[in-house]
């Protein structure tokens, strides 16, 4: 039988080459540039410089706190939403999934302006609250604070949690919960002793994913707080702004951001695989 062109070595190469070139040119090459710039350019001391800068530690701490709080709140909300969605008809669930996915299509800037228009000093919600005696100035200060920023982050982190957890919850054999219930376990007990332990790898994985996203996000933060907030992405932004660029330090900060994100994601994956093995 005559072999088709695509099953020959030439065919394989012609099929894979565009993908390889794209990956190499737009992912691996820029990463290498960042690595080289951070370690070699500017005298090769960019890491020493950021480690000696108190702003770096404040930024790192701010990023960790912001990412953790936004991820935790998103995880709780996303989990509860996914749990409720499991019980809906598939038609209604699909409509809801479409609505929930909308925030993912907006850029961070759009989300930030949306929040300003809603919760800012002259925002729709703020004005509504002023009718019941809430001070608009005090309330709008909230949206420009780190807590307000976490709240804005949740807007696009919750959909990610829902999309991660929903398939797992849909596949969960609910007869285990019925069995536990027949043995006398109440709802809370079923959830904490049966459901959550079993889907924990997916929960950890969802948390790690949204943590990494939040850790590297800067658009919303920039639009809401300018560069006033001490978080690493904004520190990085300040190093590549028109006034006083410092590319080696910016590259070193990029490596830190990348490393933390990769580390967190790897920890999640490691936890999931370890759990799987432990019960075999």
């Amino acid at each position: 039988m005559r072999k088709s062109f695509f099953s020959t070595p030439g065919g394989y190469i012609s099929l894979t080459l565009p993908g390889v070139l794209l990956l190499g040119g737009f992912f691996i090459f820029p990463l290498l540039v960042v690595l080289v710039t951070s370690f070699i350019e500017g005298g090769g001391d960019s890491f020493v410089r950021i480690l000696q800068d108190p702003l770096f530690y404040r930024g790192l701490w701010g990023s960790l706190v912001l990412s953790f709080s936004a991820s935790f709140v998103s995880l709780v909300c996303g989990f509860l939403i996914a749990l409720r969605m499991v019980k809906l008809s598939s038609r209604l669930r699909n409509i809801l999934m479409l609505l929930i996915s909308l925030p993912l299509t907006f850029s961070g800037m759009v989300v930030a302006y949306g929040f300003i228009l809603t919760f800012g000093r002259a925002g729709f919600f703020t004005i509504l609250l002023s009718y019941v005696g809430v001070d608009p100035v005090a309330f709008s200060r909230f949206i420009y604070s780190p807590v307000g920023l976490s709240f804005a982050y949740c807007y696009y982190l919750i959909p990610r949690v829902v999309f991660n957890l929903l398939p797992v919850l849909l596949n969960f054999d609910t007869r285990k919960l019925l069995a536990a219930e027949s043995f006398g376990a109440g709802r809370i007990r079923q959830m904490f002793e049966i459901l959550i332990p079993e889907i924990l790898p997916a929960i950890v994985s969802a948390f790690c994913l949204v943590f990494s996203v939040a850790f590297g996000a800067y658009g919303t933060a920039l639009a809401l707080t300018g560069t006033q907030l001490n978080i690493l992405p904004l520190l990085l932004y300040s190093k590549i702004s028109d006034a006083g660029s410092d590319f080696p330090v910016a590259a070193a900060l990029s490596v830190v951001l990348l490393s933390v994100g990769t580390l967190v994601m790897s920890a999640g994956e490691l936890f999931a695989s370890h759990r799987k093995e432990a019960h075999r």
Partner: protein, 349 residues
């Protein structure tokens, strides 16, 4: 504990499916099998008793106590699901101990009781194993042990053997029967396997389209089915259109048969049930006549299936095909039908 269902009706939201006007009493220590085809409502009955669904009408009594509004967690029932529903992150021992943990039994006591229960189902050596490392039969035993460890009021089994292979299924059904007898526990066993139901149940309930058609002992259900549906579902059957000749004879497409026609007037139409094993097969007409008198028919084999202990054959009798079963391995040339094995149904059924 006695369980009574009185005029229980339940339909699933936005559908016409459910169970209707169910009147059923399960005596203390009895094993009742519920059978029926898919969608007949047998699992729904189990869900209503367990409390996973609540009837829209009727009364459910545990002993003399109405329980239809009680949540499942307050009904004290041991439930075994088709998928076993074991908790994968708990060992076999932890799984069995779980109902005791929920009841607040001290750790040492509950582990000792769980281990004793595992010993009774022959799995003491597997106490530290996780469900994923156990075979289907072992998981089934763990699920049974878990459902029995807290001395529940009754045991509800939802097709617990359907995921097992044929040999293991037979072993396990004997084991279920033994455990049920040892514990003297009221048991409701839902299955689509009529052979399984007949072999272990004290009584069998047959459901069709959400309605209870017949509740009887396995022998009566098989020998004297109330309707053609029961006859078709329980065991294999030849259902033959007949006409009643007189009080002692019926006319079939292949000849006149001797049979009691009590309750049927001469000339009326009916359907006769003849079980395959009630058709006696002989090598020749002469051999048949020498043993069975005159009501014998010449026949010819159309299909012959060797099943090990028996042969299942389709024989043609005067152009009509009958299914028969026999242990006889030789030639087949004639058949006769036992008089007392023929069961008549009204034609309208």
């Amino acid at each position: 504990m006695k369980i009574s269902l009185q005029q229980i009706t339940f339909t699933y939201p936005h559908t016409l499916y459910g169970v209707f006007d169910i009147d059923l009493e399960i005596q203390e220590g009895e094993l009742l099998a519920v059978i029926g085809s898919s969608g007949s409502g047998k699992t729904t009955i189990l869900k209503l008793i367990a409390g996973f669904e609540h009837p829209q009408k009727g009364t459910l009594l545990f002993g003399d106590r109405p329980v239809q509004v009680l949540p499942p967690s307050k009904r004290n029932l041991g439930v075994v699901f088709q998928s076993y529903a074991l908790f994968p992150l708990m060992t076999a021992l932890e799984n069995v101990a779980y109902p005791l943990k929920v009841r607040g039994v001290r750790t040492e006591d509950r582990l000792a009781r769980a281990l004793e229960m595992l010993r009774r189902v022959g799995l003491e050596a597997f106490a530290d194993r996780y469900p994923a490392t156990l075979s289907g039969g072992q998981q089934q035993r763990v699920a049974l042990a878990r459902a029995l460890v807290f001395q529940p009021n009754a045991l509800l089994l939802d097709e617990p053997l359907s995921a097992l292979d044929a040999k293991l299924r037979i072993e396990m059904r004997d084991e279920i029967r033994n455990l049920q007898r040892q514990n003297g526990i009221t048991t409701i066993h839902v299955t689509h396997d009529q052979e399984e139901a007949l072999s272990i149940a004290d009584r069998v309930a047959f459901l069709k389209d959400g309605r209870l058609v017949q509740v009887d002992t396995p022998k009566n259900l098989y020998d004297h089915p109330k309707t053609i549906e029961v006859a078709k579902f329980v065991g294999r059957s030849n259902l033959i259109p007949v006409q009643v000749v007189d009080t002692d004879r019926i006319e079939t497409p292949f000849g006149v048969l001797s049979c009691s026609t009590k309750g049927f007037s001469p000339g009326s139409s009916s359907t006769a049930l003849i079980r395959p094993e009630s058709i006696l097969l002989y090598p020749s007409i002469e051999a048949a006549q020498s043993q069975h008198g005159t009501t014998v028919f010449p026949c010819k084999i159309i299909r012959d299936r060797f099943l090990g202990p028996v042969r299942r054959v389709d024989v043609e009798v005067k152009g009509y095909i009958l299914e028969a079963e026999t242990m006889w391995r030789g030639e087949i040339g004639a058949c006769s039908i036992k008089r007392d094995s023929i069961c008549l149904f009204l034609k309208t059924e």
